[in-house]
Subunit: 343 residues, 2 copies
DNA sequence: GATAATATTTTACGCGCGTAAAAATTTATA
DNA sequence: TATAAATTTTTACGCGCGTAAAATATTATC
């Protein structure tokens, strides 16, 4: 008696003494029914644990409460962290987040966009590959479904962008490095997958010029997402060839820095900001492991949580009151200097 | 003309000259229709890019082609990697994988189980928290939906388990450490979240007894998933207190080892297997960063890909021919010793 | 206690597709 | 070319729920 199986809303309405349309209202917004009715429903709910069939629900809604979240690579802790924050923000706002990773492959990004289309999400939070993305496809997608970009921008597409101000963050790091020792060389990927890498290079060049020092850019060859391996191999090669004209290397991201730190260790090079150190290495992103490298990594912290929640809030606002803010928003957050032991 | 919008399968059947039921057959299995019919459909498909509404499809199917994949924490690279492999295996087999992370919180595991229920998956690949899981809930879940466990087992529940043989892997590591230097102490969490930790402790104890050496277990206090931080703080404290009776520490997993390595570095302790080193540290899991630690970490490699594909294959077999293999399967894979520089 | 305002129930239709059964067509076999 | 076999079309129903409109019941206001 207490636990017979409820097949559908009709059956549930029977055992619960409330009509099906009222139940439907309740499941869409529990506050939209009278208190006494709500109590009756919740009582029955505890007894029979019925839940509406999401497929039937979503079929009959013109719009679902799904939010698509898509990142280029969940195996990268940066995206793992930020994806988690976005997911929680969506859930807290009463939406159903669906996290997708493209596993570092632009082709999967395209496939995921198709998947998202069929999921009919109310909106999408998208960290795109950037130039490497199928830009036309992304553009078409963004015309049909509200999209807020985060981390990486695609100019002119989508409704808004939230990310870190690379100009500010790189300038901050360059300033610190110049004040505390020799001016930095830049170590980066030769053909970077991420548009932020290009922005950081430009920011580095401008900042060095502003500070009156010559810029030195050293590019690691290699493809793919194995940044640590590339940083270790190429960075190690450059170190052993004495390729860097100053004793300070600013890596375009922490993962390259982690690789280079490991190469420096193997070469017996003492890294750090002390006077007895021959080399300084800095990174960018405040990777979860950057505080456990040897030595701990001086870097720039992006505000993961703030980026995630702002992007999510922006999207929710658009969904809940469409056509209000017609202009495309662009939010750039400041990075924070994290002074540790490597530089 | 070339790109009018197709609203549903009826409309598509009109422009394509094939009846709707035949289309339905086609979308479920393109090979089930005549070649000429298939060609007609695919031709129209390229022109109008219609796709069936997945909500309507799944509502009318008694069973979907969804596969739920659930791990305790995607922010942990181990689960990130293995989750990715499982996801790809599902997709290659024509299923729709849905990856869920519990973000290290058992409460979210319960919530995700409810979510999975409503997704009506054909099967679920589950890496459970273990003891900390709501075992009753998992058990009920596994009664309704085919579940294959991986990484961590819950005895007697689910249809099968695929994981690494901790007895074998720990014995292998202990053997190596004993042969190449002093016998190891074990460093682990005091209240481990993962059942594998307990298995590894037992395996360590047995192996040390077999080798005729006294066992020494050192437990780090601390809660949560910040293993590196805990390994660094507690491991560093123990090192500075000279708490370890031998010069060799076997960490229960790589993340603890990474923390301890960073602490050793801070303390100026030279770690490695060379004669000029005072300390040896080994790990378990072959964490993606273990080759970039300073020094690189000697550890045990679990075969991520093999675990993932075997678990997936097992599940597919059950789904496609239910009630065939009635006995609960248990697959334990061997770990491999990865000799690097830390021990 | 009568009237108005609000909430609920009844009734009814539609969403897009799976799927079964019977009829019609196409293809294979003799 | 006639017959059998395979495939497709036609017809028809159902899945579980959203949602609109009208009828009814409940609550608030005076």
């Amino acid at each position: 008696m207490p636990k017979q199986k409820i097949r559908n809303m009709d059956a549930f309405s029977a055992v619960c003494g409330v009509s099906r349309p009222t139940l439907s209202k309740f499941f869409n917004d529990p506050d939209s029914v009278k208190r006494s009715t709500r109590a009756k429903i919740e009582q029955a709910l505890a007894k029979y644990d019925y839940r509406p069939n999401i497929y039937a629900v979503n079929q009959n809604r013109q719009i679902t409460r799904n939010i698509g979240i898509m990142v280029p690579n969940l195996a990268d802790p940066f995206f793992s962290e930020i994806g988690r924050e976005v997911e929680l923000a969506c859930h807290d706002a009463g939406y159903s987040p669906i996290v997708l990773s493209s596993h570092g492959r632009p082709a999967l990004e395209a496939r995921n966009l198709n998947l998202l289309r069929s999921l009919k999400p109310a909106g999408v939070l998208l960290a795109p590959f950037g130039r490497i993305s199928d830009v036309n496809m992304v553009e078409k997608f963004a015309k049909d479904i509200p999209v807020v970009f985060f981390d990486a921008n695609i100019d002119g597409i989508g409704e808004a962008f939230v990310g870190t101000d690379n100009d500010q963050s790189m300038d901050l790091m360059v300033e610190y490095l110049c004040r505390s020792g020799q001016p930095p060389c830049l170590f980066e990927m030769k053909s970077p997958l991420n548009p932020n890498a290009n922005k950081r290079r430009h920011a580095y060049l401008e900042s060095m010029q502003r500070h009156g020092f010559p810029a030195h850019i050293h590019q690691a060859s290699g493809e793919g997402w194995d940044f640590e391996a590339i940083g270790s191999a190429e960075g190690g090669r450059m170190l052993s060839e004495n390729a860097f004209p100053t004793n300070t290397v600013l890596c375009s991201n922490d993962r390259l820095a982690i690789g280079m730190l490991s190469a420096a260790y193997s070469l017996g090079l003492r890294v750090g900001h002390g006077s007895n150190c021959k080399l300084r290495i800095a990174g960018h992103d405040d990777h979860p492991y950057s505080r456990f490298t040897c030595p701990s990594l001086t870097t720039i912290a992006q505000d993961y949580k703030e980026i995630a929640t702002r992007a999510a809030q922006t999207l929710f606002a658009m969904i809940e009151s469409p056509e209000s803010g017609a202009e495309r928003g662009k939010t750039l957050l400041d990075g924070k200097l994290i002074m540790r032991n490597s530089a």
